[in-house]
């Protein structure tokens, strides 16, 4: 159980930005000249950290920088990070599609990735022929496929069409067949990307079930890459957080998720946040979260306010706009969603300030993250993921002097218990 099955040491990966054209030949020659003389690559050291929002002044960038970690046999390792943090690059290196610029990876087992669904499928060949070809591409021998053929066909649910060319299949059937092959591959290390959202609901359930079997039942080592904190939490035993190409956290799943969320929530003023989507007709320029009145911390059971200041230069009225709020807990689980669109609208002001008010706050104590979404005439105007966070302090919700444990429930309901 405690054997190290995968050892990643000081992996870095450098990419050249922009288009490859002028300058490549001269850089190549220069690089070649350096290698001939036994010197190191002159361009490798001028790479910069991989922060896509900051303009760099070098043409080279390090997508991964000094990544090191170890995975033990039977472990399910979650890899979390923002878009562009370097997760996919790491996966590509692990699945040997591309080589690292420096560093080594040592492994004791075959690595296969569920990214490769349907690779090499040929439309003119039958389902059965494609199972063999696809299986072989993924590293199975013909004998291995022979023994699993029935199982694969059964899992795919395409039995009736198995001797029909794949070009006659519906796209859903192709995906089912492809996933069935990949799922029956038996590598010692399986790499799963969250982009598993294929097929219909029934098949997705089957796919996720199979993944759980693989990781839990069969004791296989799994690397799981995802944005879905709930899935990471339920599947993984350990997690690493990648930021700008570097590992910033390595440890228990719960701690990793908390670390990731804290890190990805910007602490700068909301006005300064760059990562927002939408036309920007209306924008949030300031936010204040308070309890009973300004300056008082939110407390369970007390009145609660979130007040936004908006920049609204076009004078959009409140009946043209829609304001949604989502509150996630410190584990990234969705707790509540509020929107003015589900409430009767009272006024038609040209809005500069918006206030969300909960008369008796029914959130348990803890840290919460808020995602905001404003649309004007059904068009996204300002959408900020994890725009800000707030802390709720402990309070006496039921007036009994007792408290509901925060690990039991994030939200508090109004209820009675009657013995009859």
């Amino acid at each position: 159980m405690s054997t190290t099955i995968l050892k990643v040491q000081n992996i870095s990966k450098q990419y050249r930005l922009g288009k490859i054209g002028t300058g490549t030949l001269s850089h190549d020659l220069n690089r070649w000249w350096h290698t001939v003389r036994g010197k190191e690559d002159p361009y490798l050291k001028i790479g910069e950290a991989n922060d896509r929002s900051v303009k760099g002044n070098s043409q080279y960038v390090l997508a991964l920088q000094d990544i090191s970690f170890e995975v033990k046999q039977g472990e399910v390792l979650g890899i979390i990070g923002k878009n562009g943090a370097g997760k996919s690059t790491l996966l590509k290196i692990l699945s040997r599609v591309t080589a690292p610029s420096t560093g080594t990876i040592k492994t004791r087992g075959r690595i296969a990735s569920l990214l490769e669904v349907g690779t090499g499928f040929h439309p003119e060949m039958t389902g059965r022929e494609n199972i063999y070809l696809n299986g072989a591409i993924l590293g199975m021998t013909k004998k291995e496929i022979d023994t699993k053929l029935e199982e694969i066909i059964d899992f795919s649910g395409c039995e009736r069409y198995i001797d029909t060319p794949v070009k006659r299949y519906s796209s859903g059937m192709t995906v089912r067949l492809a996933f069935a092959v990949a799922a029956h591959l038996e590598p010692e290390i399986l790499v799963v990307d969250e982009v598993l959202a294929v097929g219909d609901a029934e098949f997705q359930k089957k796919a996720i079930g199979k993944m759980q079997d693989i990781s839990k039942g069969e004791g296989r080592t799994v690397l799981f890459v995802s944005h879905n904190m709930a899935a990471v939490k339920s599947l993984c035993t350990r997690a690493v957080v990648i930021k700008n190409g570097m590992i910033t956290f390595d440890g228990g799943v719960d701690d990793a998720i908390q670390f990731y969320l804290k890190e990805s929530t910007v602490h700068t003023a909301i006005k300064e946040i760059k990562e927002r989507k939408g036309s920007g007709i209306i924008k949030i320029i300031d936010v204040e979260v308070f309890g009973n009145s300004i300056g008082i911390l939110p407390q369970t059971g007390q009145p609660f306010h979130i007040e936004f200041a908006l920049s609204n230069p076009k004078g959009i009225t409140s009946n043209q706009m829609r304001f949604d709020l989502r509150i996630d807990d410190h584990m990234g689980q969705r707790i509540a969603w509020m929107s003015d669109s589900v409430l009767p609208k009272q006024s038609f002001n040209t809005s500069q300030r918006v206030q969300f008010m909960i008369p008796k706050l029914n959130l348990n104590h803890g840290l919460y993250y808020v995602t905001t979404h404003i649309s004007v005439n059904n068009e996204v105007s300002d959408w900020i993921q994890n725009a800000f966070s707030f802390e709720v302090t402990e309070g006496d919700y039921y007036g009994s002097g007792k408290k509901t444990p925060a690990e039991q429930s994030k939200t508090l309901l109004d209820y009675n218990v009657n013995y009859l």
Binding site: T3, I5, K7, Y15, I20, T24, L25, D28, Q73, K92, I93, L94, S95, R96, V97, T98, A99, P100, S101, T102, G103, T104, I105, K106, T107, R108, G109, R110, S113, L115, E116, T119, G120, H122, E124, M125, E129, Y132, L133, A136, I137, L138, G139, T141, K142, P165
Partner: protein, 288 residues
């Protein structure tokens, strides 16, 4: 658990690997993949066609007919005393094996970037697969050639196949390593510099004219100063083709030294091809 002894790693991923290394054990593991790729190539070639595998024969047949009309009937090029059609057909089937392999191998990275970008398997499978599936194609054309040969012998032409036909596999092997070596060199370079794609297309058709297919080598030797005869044999295909035609048709002249030269060039080119290919396959996906 026995196989998990400490410090016994299955494989290691690192920036560079030794230049000529081919992991034969791994290649053996993927042998089924090679055969399945070959099967895919052959089967999908004639799926949904009426004539099926006959298409493999039509290509050399029509080419030979046209060449027969132009080079024999119009230009009056001699053919060492054997029927010109048979002479040119023999040259064509071997030439097509060479040029088809070369063209397909030189497109290895550009044509397979999709699959290479998603999954790992020994990349050298792809050039190998080209050589093997073209071999199947060659065999079909070869059978056709033999049928035509027997027809001509039956008609009473003076054609003398010799025991040398037994070295045909060796000649094919030499053609294959030449095509594979040159193709792998080009494929690795086209990854970054697409210019070579254009060179290959018309380079192959130009190369055909310096290869004795539509004319016999003896004709060239007759026309040029004996001092320059060595130039004729610089083309490694000349020796192979001369042997092939001599073995089956009994025409022309052969010299073992030239054949050994072709073999030497073939091995050098193959080695260079593997070297460059190995360097390229590790990170071509970043630049393609």
């Amino acid at each position: 658990m026995n196989k998990l002894k400490s410090e016994e790693w299955l494989f290691e991923i690192s920036p560079k690997k030794s230049a000529f290394e081919i992991n034969f054990k791994e290649l053996w593991h993927y042998r089924d993949l090679l055969m399945l790729f070959v099967k895919r190539d052959i089967v999908t070639f004639y799926k949904q066609t009426v004539l099926g595998p006959i298409w493999f024969i039509i290509q050399p047949l029509l080419t030979s007919v046209i060449q027969f009309i132009i080079f024999s009937k119009i230009a009056d090029i001699p053919s060492d005393g054997v029927p010109y059609f048979l002479f040119v057909l023999a040259g064509n089937i071997l030439w097509f094996y060479f040029s088809d392999c070369l063209k397909a191998v030189s497109e290895t990275f550009t044509a397979n970037q999709n699959i290479f970008g998603k999954v790992y398997f020994p990349r050298i499978i792809m050039p190998l697969k080209v050589v093997v599936s073209n071999l199947v194609k060659f065999c079909i054309q070869f059978v056709f050639f033999i049928v035509v040969l027997i027809y001509y012998i039956y008609q009473g032409y003076d054609i003398n196949p010799s025991l040398l036909v037994l070295i045909t596999p060796v000649l094919l092997f030499m053609t294959a390593i030449l095509a594979m070596g040159i193709g792998m060199l080009i494929s690795s370079l086209t990854v970054k510099y697409r210019d070579l794609n254009f060179v290959v297309t018309f380079g192959i058709s130009l190369f055909m004219y310096v290869t004795p297919i539509v004319y016999p080598t003896t004709l060239v030797l007759e026309k040029i100063n004996p001092k320059y005869h060595i130039l004729v044999y610089l083309n490694p295909l000349t020796g192979i083709l001369d042997f092939f035609k001599y073995a089956f048709l009994g025409s022309g002249s052969i010299n073992l030294a030239y054949l050994l030269y072709s073999l030497g060039i073939g091995l050098i080119v193959l080695l260079a091809g593997v070297l460059v290919f190995n360097r390229t396959e590790k990170s071509f996906i970043d630049v393609i």
